[in-house]
């Protein structure tokens, strides 16, 4: 990393310190701005209050006490995570094979591409009433929205990857006696993986958006439900703790994808590095 004065910041610790500078500054200013524990006439609690609220939410005794959120953080985080995992998994199972097919066979492109292109501009939020009407206030509606939201970037990036393959790789495989199915699984799929992972990362982000939106309206559990519920009863400390929790889970799941990507795509990183 190069600093403005020409110094080079290369050690890991230095980078972490620099990266933490801005958030720490914001938190300190925010805390200092509310000497009575809140800003804007009591609307916005200071970080210490948010932290206290989160600790009770996460580690407080569960049960029907005065604080209905006490001790429910883990359950709600798991509800949301499970929905994202199910919806995201479904989006991968449908999106990757379909994207390969669309990128590879002109017939599949002609059959599916127009439908996808027409449906794609409908925002995931616009599907909410439809989802509630069809699936009711149940998990499956939330999973449906996540799957649909994550599906588009996955299928589109996979298609792009399958289309952009070096023609000579296909020729080489056929020359060596590969059958059409071998070409798909041993050449087209691995060659498309870098694009597929781009789609997965974008899709996962949309998955987290979809889970929060759907939980706010269409189900009665999860971080999205708590977020809206806490807002209604004026618990802005819980609202902000909830927002931070969503951010944390989204960040960690993205890191997980990146870890899998760098494990599978060492060859690609090496190739880009060389180029």
């Amino acid at each position: 990393m190069k600093l403005a004065n020409g110094l080079v910041l290369d050690n890991r610790a230095g980078k972490i310190v620099l990266g933490l500078l801005l958030p720490v500054l914001v938190v300190v200013l925010w805390q200092a701005a509310g000497p009575n524990g809140s800003l804007f006439g009591g609307v916005l609690p200071t970080p210490d209050r948010v932290w206290t609220a989160w600790k009770i939410w996460a580690f407080g005794p569960a049960g029907m006490g005065l604080n209905p959120y006490s001790g429910t953080w883990l359950d709600n985080a798991l509800f949301s995570t499970e929905r994202v995992a199910k919806g995201f998994g479904a989006a991968i199972l449908v999106g990757v094979p379909l994207g390969i097919a669309i990128g590879w066979w002109r017939l599949a492109a002609q059959a599916f591409d127009p439908t996808i292109q027409v449906l794609r501009p409908i925002p995931i939020t616009a599907w909410l009433p439809f989802s509630i009407a069809v699936f009711g206030i149940r998990d499956v509606g939330s999973v449906f929205l996540i799957a649909l939201g994550a599906f588009y970037p996955i299928v589109i990036n996979t298609t792009q990857g399958a289309r952009g393959i070096d023609k000579n790789w296909i020729r080489a495989a056929l020359m060596m006696g590969a059958k059409p199915m071998d070409v798909l699984t041993r050449v087209v799929l691995p060659a498309s993986l870098p694009s597929i992972f781009t789609g997965l990362r974008v899709g996962l982000g949309i998955g987290w958006t979809a889970v929060i939106v759907s939980e706010m309206i269409a189900v009665k559990s999860g971080l999205g439900y708590v977020l809206w519920d806490a807002y209604y009863v004026g618990r802005m400390d819980v609202v902000i703790a909830d927002m931070a929790s969503i951010g944390l889970l989204g960040f960690l799941s993205d890191r997980l994808i990146i870890a899998i990507e760098s494990w599978l795509l060492g060859w690609h990183r090496m190739q880009s590095f060389q180029a």
């Binding site: 080489a172 495989a173 060596m176 006696g177 590969a178 041993r186 691995p190 060859w267 190739q271």
Partner: protein, 253 residues
């Protein structure tokens, strides 16, 4: 086995402006013969190779390989590409054994052959390396080994050393001479490098463009076995002068 026969073969690429890439090609290549296609870019020499490889379909005439009409690619005709076109996600060993594996051979059936070919091209120490870790010349060695492991009856090489620096190219030419002089496979070798064609080939087919035609065939009588030392002999210089004269005529016509 490894007999190639083009009879009045032609190729036109369809489109708004159809491209008449090859016109009335007649060419016989005997088993074990090393034939070079020499000509400027755009003369259709790669198209001719692609027809024999089965990558393109001919528009007219006949094309047979060992008596059978060529209509698709297959491991009997091993192709070496200009940029090697290795699979970058597979290491050297997996690239070399790709052919036997997709053909359903068992590990025991191909392992010793693959080891031998890896040794033949001097890459025993690099079996686990990824293509991105290799130099251009090493990648092309892998490209050659991965076709040799299939024991093809013909080797089709499309400007395989065209992207290499001069010194590496000489080393690769020597390697190919050694390999060919050992295995004796039929070779069709596309190049625009006059020296390369004289050094390697038994027969040089000089081509001209628009439409692509073979304008002249020259038998190269340099004694075998050859090596890159052959490049400095007076007989070599005589062939070079003859070809240069011919190619000027080919350009003007």
């Amino acid at each position: 086995m490894g007999n190639v026969s083009f009879r009045a073969t032609s190729k036109t690429f369809p489109g708004k402006v159809p491209v008449h890439a090859l016109d009335d090609i007649t060419l016989e290549i005997k088993d074990g013969e090393f034939v070079a296609l020499l000509g400027p870019s755009g003369c259709g020499k790669s198209t001719l190779l692609n027809l024999l490889a089965g990558f393109e379909t001919r528009s007219g005439g006949e094309l047979t390989f060992d008596g059978a009409t060529v209509d698709k690619p297959g491991p009997d005709r091993g192709v070496v590409f200009q940029e090697a076109s290795l699979f970058p996600w597979l290491n050297v060993w997996d690239n070399i054994t790709f052919g036997p594996r997709v053909q359903g051979l068992k590990h025991d059936e191909y392992e010793s052959k693959a080891r031998a070919m890896l040794k033949l091209v001097g890459l025993e120490a690099f079996a686990d390396a990824l293509p991105a870790q290799l130099s251009g010349g090493m990648r092309q060695r892998v490209g050659i080994a991965r076709v040799l492991v299939m024991s093809p009856r013909a080797l089709l090489m499309d400007e395989p050393f065209g992207a290499l620096d001069a010194q590496t190219r000489l080393a690769m030419q020597q390697l190919l001479l050694d390999v060919w002089q050992t295995l004796g496979t039929t070779v069709l070798f596309v190049t625009h490098d006059i020296d390369e064609s004289i050094l390697l080939a038994d027969r040089i087919c000089i081509m001209s463009a628009r439409p692509g035609r073979i304008t002249r065939e020259i038998a190269v009588g340099l004694p075998r076995p050859r090596s890159i030392e052959s490049l400095t002999t007076s007989a070599f210089a005589a062939y070079k002068a003859e070809i240069m004269a011919e190619m000027k005529i080919a350009h003007a016509g």
